[in-house]
Symmetry: C2
Subunit: 139 residues, 2 copies
């Protein structure tokens, strides 16, 4: 993440941002936001919430699968910080915490949906391209 910030800073200095029509500050933020949300766990968690509605901590972990507690905690914190989800703590024992998509989160899920569709549409072509590449480079 720091790398991106540095890169953006360098680009601002040198005045060669790719969208000269928008302000450099906006570009920087957009890149930063994209770098955050493009995270693989973020997308998987967002999708889990989209499909199942409000979920609890361990439910998300089970649905997403293969995520460690540490990463799950870290990712949901980041998502809460970015306003993609809300975190509701019920002060009972044992603890009970609910996670829900915000409107912002739903919009992002919808936007990212195009990439899911792309992947589902073209994964076979990607596979074929990989096989062809391997064959080319192999010999």
């Amino acid at each position: 993440m720091q790398v991106i910030r540095d890169a953006v800073a360098a680009m601002q200095e040198q005045g060669r941002l790719s969208h000269p029509e928008v302000s450099p500050a906006v570009e920087a933020l957009v890149r930063d936001v994209i770098a955050q949300v493009a995270d693989k766990w973020t997308m998987l968690i967002l999708e889990a919430l989209e499909e199942h509605g409000t979920l609890r901590f361990t439910q998300i972990g089970r649905i997403v699968g293969g995520i460690s507690q540490k990463m799950l905690t870290k990712t949901v914190r980041q998502m809460e910080c970015d306003g993609l989800i809300t975190r509701k703590v019920h002060p009972v024992i044992p603890p009970h915490v609910d996670y829900t998509q915000t409107e912002l989160g739903r919009e992002l899920t919808a936007a990212f949906c195009g990439v899911w569709v792309w992947a589902e549409t073209y994964y076979a072509q990607v596979e074929a391209a990989r096989a062809a590449f391997k064959a080319r480079e192999g010999r």
Copy 2:
């Protein structure tokens, strides 16, 4: 990346993939493909090619900004492998290599466009959410 493959394998065993209607193998591939293409440099390079058309190695580096030669090489290789771009080597000295988006790459760029638009539309809200979060957690 290996993590994802492991996670997918674990999920296949336990039969709790999020899209039961599609085959587990397809799901695995889709996740794998998304994990690859959601890479930040991939997206920036794709965007550079979308805006400027065919580019040479160092041109991409300059336009993207802040990327090391090593990462640039690695990323374009991966993209070529996945069939997102074509790499044309002109056997001259000094070397001359052209990179161009394939149809697959253009489709992905278009799909990812939604996320760019989302970021440009809502970055201010994300900023606000972050500030609010910081204020909440600060005290």
